[in-house]
Symmetry: D4
């Protein structure tokens, strides 16, 4: 069961550009957008299962310099 | 792949007790707690897959009288 | 100057599926996702300019039955 | 009067796994879950009274490396 | 074990004044303040135990006309 | 002591345009802006004292059709 | 015109107890409460005018070690 | 197409005054206000296009010492 999710990210200070570039190169990341509003980056990810989503979020994206807060929105089937 | 999640719920007006009772009887719901703080109910659910989680959330819990907002926290593997 | 944005939407009660279908047919909407987490729908839009974004948001999406709150994230150039 | 509560936790950067392990060993903690969404950890605690809840929250959980914000939801009697 | 708490309240539309007057007369309420900011009313309560706090919150304050959301902050011992 | 404040407003459904027009005509309102993001309207007000600010907020702006939530930011002296 | 306000405070890590003690000694502070929920401290202040409220908030309370975020709720006249 | 926006800013600790002064001198900034409530500064900006808004936000304002979080509200045409 493949899982697709949007990760809404808040970045500290002026790390938005560097975080944007780092996240783009992470495996499983389909697209990254720099946005204005209450979030700084919107990341679209696709993973094979819950285990790989956990790894991607906890060990990869959360480890990127400047990333202070993530809000993960799992895409549901309708 | 079974999915486990906590659903943090805001309830309108004085519907908390009735929503508590209704949600307890929904299949897939393991436990319901009435809480104080910024949420009114915390619901622990376990579903077989993403499709049943979607159904449980969108057609069952969101349809309960008084439920105005849900914040679903998917349990990850660590 | 074309504008691209993500609109994070909160939907009341069990209107998520119907709102999903209605929003999909609105002109300017590129993609709609039903999500779990603190939002219910994520909508990706593309408009020609600020005026059409305003119209799309204020007269189309905000008028969809069940849509209670929108959080618009404008995509920036990096 | 025993008190039961859920503590919704935000963790900084990639400290989620280490915070998970540390919190599991704290006395009074019944269960810890790593979650996706707007929180990173959900902790279920049970304490004898308000004094021990205060101690557990302020001196133990809030002192765990990486824990930046806690939102405590006291379980009510219905 | 007496419990003391602050209840931060959001009120719908122009019901703030009437909610203020109604809440003032509820038993267990020590003080009510109309405030500006992200909340509309701040209510200070004192109850004998968790059961009476639950009743006060769920059956009395949440039933007041116009009260849409409550955020209860339990006073801790330090 | 004159008071100046920004009132950040969330509007329900498609009432943003009508609320914009109604608020523009309220005495004490200096400027109104329709915005995208996590708020729908930003209103700049100037009142003679705290009493007139209270009246403006509680009896005028909060009574406008569609206004569901206000977040008042008092301008401080620096 | 005396001003009364509640300041809702988020504290980083385990600085809640020390921040509590420091804030208690600040002139203009009437009462401090350690709370559970989405805030850590609730501070009640009374100042002579807007200038002294600004000073108290920006130079005193915001300078206390561990204070990361303040949400000031000005008490209105009803 | 000129763009106008309000940037709602949260500032860490007691950096509000210094951030206020630094932001005032940034090109494109029309006005800065120190506010109480859930934000610390409200900045009104006007830029020529989306590219200059991006630069102003990501490279200038987000780089100011003490600025931890920005919430940008783009002014829409009504």
């Amino acid at each position: 069961m493949a899982l697709s999710a949007f990760i809404l990210i808040e970045v500290a200070g002026d790390h938005t550009k560097s975080a944007f570039k780092t996240i783009q190169r992470i495996s499983g990341v389909k697209a990254v957008y720099t946005v204005s509003g209450s979030y700084d980056l919107i990341v679209q990810v696709e993973t094979e299962n819950l285990q790989t989503l956990s790894d991607l979020l906890l060990s990869k994206i959360r480890a990127v310099d400047g990333v202070t807060k993530t809000n993960t929105c799992l895409v549901l089937n309708v």
